[in-house]
């Protein structure tokens, strides 16, 4: 066993010399692998959604329709009303941000409704992400907003109506003022 360990150690030393990033980098500006992505390659993997709705996929859904999808695909992890867990609490917490136990949820904290669509679309259900059709994403988005009292049961959400929703905490954000603690005052202007 000691021998095997020595061999591995020796191999690692060799690798360190041959593959040392500093050495390779000094000799050539690239590593000779991959290529700069073409615009169409980026487009194929770009699923970004902006607050104004750019990037949303065509489709629609209501909370009424979303209840069925939610029960089947979300409830085991998020609870019947989005508040029971065991995973992240999805509803409630409004009015709690100034308390000693703030509860940051979609309803109490998130600034943009489009972010909810984006997150469900890319990451949920947690164990089978990106497996839902656009209409199911709109419907579960509507249902989570409904659980937070933000939309009505039959309000139709689509790529036009979703960005128009004003989230309760939309105006709760300020710009980052750091460095606010620990900075040397004379250098402060460099960062603003």
């Amino acid at each position: 066993m000691a021998t095997a360990r020595n061999v591995i150690a020796a191999l690692m030393c060799a690798a360190a010399v041959v593959g040392s990033p500093a050495v390779v980098f000094a000799q050539s500006p690239t590593f000779g692998v991959g290529h700069a992505p073409k615009p169409e390659e980026l487009k194929a993997i770009d699923i970004e959604v902006t607050p104004d709705g750019k990037g949303l996929i065509h489709g629609s859904g209501t909370a009424a329709a979303g209840k069925e999808v939610y029960t089947r695909r979300c409830e085991t992890c998020h609870g019947p009303t989005g508040q029971e867990g065991p995973q992240d609490v999805l509803a409630g917490g409004q009015g709690s941000l100034t308390t000693s136990r703030p509860q940051k949820t979609v309803g109490s904290y998130w600034p943009y409704a489009t972010t909810l669509w984006d997150y469900i679309n890319r990451a949920m259900p947690f164990d089978h992400p990106s497996t839902m059709m656009p209409d199911e994403v709109y419907a579960t988005t509507a249902y989570v907003l409904f659980l937070n009292g933000i939309v009505g049961e039959h309000d139709v959400l689509n790529e036009t109506t979703l960005p128009q929703i004003k989230m309760p905490n939309r105006d709760g954000f300020t710009s980052d003022p750091r460095p606010d603690v620990g900075a040397s005052p004379k250098k402060r202007s460099q960062h603003q």
């Binding site: 607050p51 600034p111 984006d118 997150y119 890319r122 990451a123 300020t174 980052d176 460095p179 603690v181």
Partner: protein, 152 residues
């Protein structure tokens, strides 16, 4: 915008407003050895070592205290020291066997020096953990056991 950008990389302040979008990690350092969970065998010489980094530039200086911040001495930086990269530091310590509060504090090339945790909490409260770059203190008890000195 994504959930990480809007809900995670935003810092909730005590007044209920939140700072957006707080992506910079300000200068931070931590002693990794000896540190919480370790037990020193007894009085004697120990090398204090740890890492420092800054999301805004290059680490210019790391200082060590073994008396809870009353006095600070410069640590040695291990090269290469690169921008936005972990920078290892070390300093030889002779422990006298009595209770000690040890900590590191770094300064980057913008002139920013890592503040005590209490200073951060005074301004930002306790709900903006993503950017807790406060000084990390380790408490070395007389029996050599090391625990979180920020809680002491």
């Amino acid at each position: 915008m994504t959930r990480e950008e809007t809900s995670k990389y935003t810092d909730l302040m005590p007044d209920g407003t939140a700072r957006q979008f707080t992506f910079d990690m300000e200068p931070k350092s931590v002693i990794t050895r000896p540190s919480g969970g370790d037990t020193l065998a007894g009085a004697g010489r120990y090398e204090i070592t740890g890492i420092a980094w800054s999301g805004r530039g290059t680490i210019a200086r790391v200082e060590i205290t073994v008396d809870g911040g009353a006095t600070w001495v410069p640590a040695e930086l291990q090269t290469p020291v690169l921008p936005r990269a972990h920078t290892r530091f070390q300093w030889p310590w002779t422990w006298d066997g009595r209770e000690a509060m040890i900590a590191s504090r770094c300064t980057d090339d913008t002139g920013y020096t890592q503040p005590p945790l209490a200073d951060l909490i005074k301004v930002r409260g306790v709900n903006s953990q993503y950017h807790n770059n406060g000084i990390q203190v380790w408490k070395v008890a007389a029996d050599g056991k090391i625990t979180n000195g920020n809680r002491a």
